[in-house]
């Protein structure tokens, strides 16, 4: 049935003709045998160029030109902002309005960076960002790994409705709970615990604490897998752990490991790539998250909040005159570039891991 309709293009045609002349019985040759024959006759097709072959080659070259031109075009779109930032950030501001200068400045200066470092208190903002967003992110990913493992491997009553709530936390936008959350931080009194202690100790412990503007606003939710997009990571990790073979854990359990020990010694090392990928996404999202910083951290400037105000600061400094606009433009580009420079460095370092976790298909695990 199969061979009756079998179409053999190009080389295969040649092989078949050759075969049919010499050995008619081999005409219904199976595809795997054909493969070997084709390989051995490969040299022949080089000696005798055929029209069909030429056409195929032209088509494949055209396809590759087409593919690369689309991809290069899109890459340019993607990289444009970065190139623009780079080009402007190193321009002396006299050249920002020079029509003769488009991409490559006539001379390079670091003045824009130096100005920005002092204007937006770069090192202070960076430190705040590291403390308020990067550190909690690491905690958050760690806890989400545990929770994801819990949902993936253990059977317990109410598992499905609980997991449905995880999905709900992903769906409900942060702004919907922000009014209630603000009050929860403003008068922090978990389960009435502080209020209870207050009445027991007769006022030695405050009835509630105001956490707004402190480290705890980001650290405490991170410890309980309740910060920005935690549900997404729990989901990703759960899918990943489900796709892992159970034999690994059984071996560890036989060696006398408890569930936590098994998790730490066997599952975590395997989840390295996926965890780093998630960590990278989490750091990026938290780094640029203006909303949380503006609402709950407020007075302490992170990179995101100080970037959002850098323009106003610059205009105040420049006296808001229109001839100073170029000063503002080049410095803003320097500010943007410096704001994401640590992220770019992180991406460059982790990019290989990311590619690996794509190749092993650990990301969706479905």
């Amino acid at each position: 049935m199969r061979n009756k309709f079998f179409k053999l293009p190009g080389n295969d045609e040649l092989i078949r003709q050759t075969l049919s002349q010499e050995t008619p019985t081999l005409q219904r040759v199976s595809s795997s045998k054909l493969h070997y024959l084709r390989k051995s006759l490969g040299a022949l097709s080089f000696v005798i160029p055929r029209r069909v072959d030429l056409r195929r080659r032209v088509v494949s070259v055209l396809m590759s030109v087409f593919r690369h031109s689309i991809l290069i075009g899109l890459s340019f779109v993607v990289m444009y902002p970065l190139l623009f930032m780079l080009s402007n950030a190193v321009k002396p501001y006299a050249q920002a309005r020079d029509p003769a200068v488009i991409w490559i400045p006539k001379s390079v200066t670091l003045a824009n960076f130096e100005d920005i470092i002092s204007i937006m208190d770069y090192w202070g903002s960076l430190l705040n960002t590291l403390l308020y967003t990067v550190l909690p992110t690491v905690l958050q990913i760690g806890v989400c790994l545990l929770v994801g493992y819990g949902f993936a491997r253990f059977r317990f009553p109410l598992k499905k409705p609980l997991f449905a709530i995880v999905l709900l936390t992903v769906i409900v936008p942060p702004v919907s709970i922000s009014t209630g959350l603000f009050r929860a931080f403003y008068a922090f009194n978990p389960f009435g615990l502080l209020g209870f202690l207050n009445s027991v100790t007769g006022g030695a412990v405050p009835a509630s604490v105001n956490l707004i503007g402190s480290h705890f606003v980001t650290v405490i939710p991170a410890l309980f897998a309740a910060s920005l997009r935690s549900g997404v990571y729990i989901l990703i990790f759960r899918q990943f752990f489900i796709s892992m073979p159970r034999e690994l854990e059984e071996a560890a359990r036989i060696d006398g490991c408890g569930p936590l020990g098994t998790f730490a010694s066997v599952m975590l090392p395997n989840a390295q790539n996926i965890a780093l990928t998630a960590l990278m996404l989490a750091v990026v999202w938290n780094w640029n998250d203006y909303y949380t910083a503006a609402t709950y951290i407020r007075s302490r400037y992170t990179i995101a909040t100080s970037l959002s105000e850098v323009k106003q600061l610059l205009q105040q400094l420049a006296g808001a005159g229109s001839e100073n606009l170029t000063v503002v433009t080049t410095r803003i580009q320097a500010a943007c570039l410096m704001g994401i420079a640590p992220l770019i460095a992180m991406y460059a370092a982790l990019q290989g891991r990311l590619a690996e976790s794509i190749e092993t298909a650990g990301l969706t695990g479905m």
């Binding site: 819990g150 709530i165 409900v172 309740a226 323009k311 969706t364």
Partner: protein, 316 residues
């Protein structure tokens, strides 16, 4: 050792609860409680006093009707329904364009050719930039710096991004209708916004494509299938669950990404300003956010009904 008395089943359940306990506590404290609280706010009148807040439930503690905030929003508020409609429209457009674009790009990047790793690195790069403040600064430059004038993110880069003014001039002089020119220039301006929002989606598609063994394509080729046919018969069925995943991801991304007064997610900006801006009306902001949440849930449900369920088409 009380553990010894537990059955195997019970011990497993206990361990499971142990692992998810941190999340459960966090969910109660920082999700469920604020969610319920904001619902109560939405049915009340929240007054700011010197010490804190005073919550008067409508119809119980004051003379208003219980649903007054909602009634006001839908019947008397001139802005909010419009803002909701804009966000819904933008999200629908983003979902369609981004899903198609990221599938197209992923299929192109999946094929084995030289330099694909470099392209992959490039295409995922916007994930770093295309969020938060940086994204707003970039977007703003793209729109010519005028759309965001009322906020902190004002005209950062006047000479920024794809300035299509010259093309626009040529087209208008060439007698092309103004409406069409506007359409084309808007599309060109939006390319960056769509491309830059596709990083994670491309990643998800690629990881789905990685699961299809190459031998399937070879077999199809042997049978005489061309690449168009093998895409629909082999690639598409495998990645269709990922299409649903990507649609939902794009939706949520668009729904929870912060915008400004006139740009990006206008609804979120309006809610944030109502609750934490100069007005500080917690009650009304809470009602707005509940209506917004209801809209999001409707979107996700619609996606589930339309493409989420395993349909018979795939198995045919």
């Amino acid at each position: 050792m009380s553990k010894g008395y537990l059955t195997l089943r019970r011990r497993e359940a206990l361990h499971g609860y142990m692992f998810i306990l941190p999340w459960f506590i966090g969910m109660l404290l920082f999700f469920a409680a604020p969610l319920v609280e904001s619902f109560i706010y939405s049915l009340s009148e929240v007054k700011s006093t010197g010490q804190g807040f005073q919550v008067l439930i409508n119809g119980v503690d004051n003379g208003k009707g219980l649903w007054d905030n909602y009634r006001h929003m839908l019947l008397a508020d001139a802005n909010f329904p419009q803002q909701l409609a804009i966000t819904a429209r933008d999200t629908a457009a983003a979902v369609i364009v981004i899903t198609m674009f990221s599938l197209f790009t992923a299929v192109m990047l999946h094929a084995g050719f030289k330099g694909r790793n470099l392209y992959r690195a490039v295409f995922f790069f916007p994930v770093i930039m295309a969020t938060g403040v940086i994204y707003l600064l970039i977007q703003e430059g793209l729109a010519g710096g005028e759309t965001l004038s009322s906020t902190n993110f004002s005209d950062a880069g006047n000479a920024f991004m794809f300035k299509v003014t010259s093309i626009r001039d040529i087209m208008i002089r060439g007698g092309v209708s103004a409406g069409f020119v506007e359409f084309v220039t808007t599309l060109v301006n939006l390319i960056f916004s769509f491309v830059s929002k596709s990083g994670v989606q491309i990643l998800l598609f690629l990881s789905g494509l990685a699961k299809i063994p190459q031998s399937h394509y070879e077999a199809a080729k042997m049978e005489g299938a061309n690449s168009w046919e093998s895409f629909w018969k082999i690639t598409f069925p495998v990645i269709s669950p990922i299409i649903f995943l990507n649609v939902v991801y794009t939706m949520l991304d668009s729904f929870i990404t912060y915008g400004t007064e006139k740009f990006g997610n206008v609804t979120l900006y309006a809610i944030q300003q109502m609750g934490f801006g100069k007005v500080m009306r917690f009650d009304y902001a809470a009602a707005m956010s509940w209506v917004y949440t209801a809209m999001i849930i409707m979107f996700v449900l619609a996606a589930y009904i339309l493409i989420g369920r395993p349909s018979s088409k795939v198995t045919e």
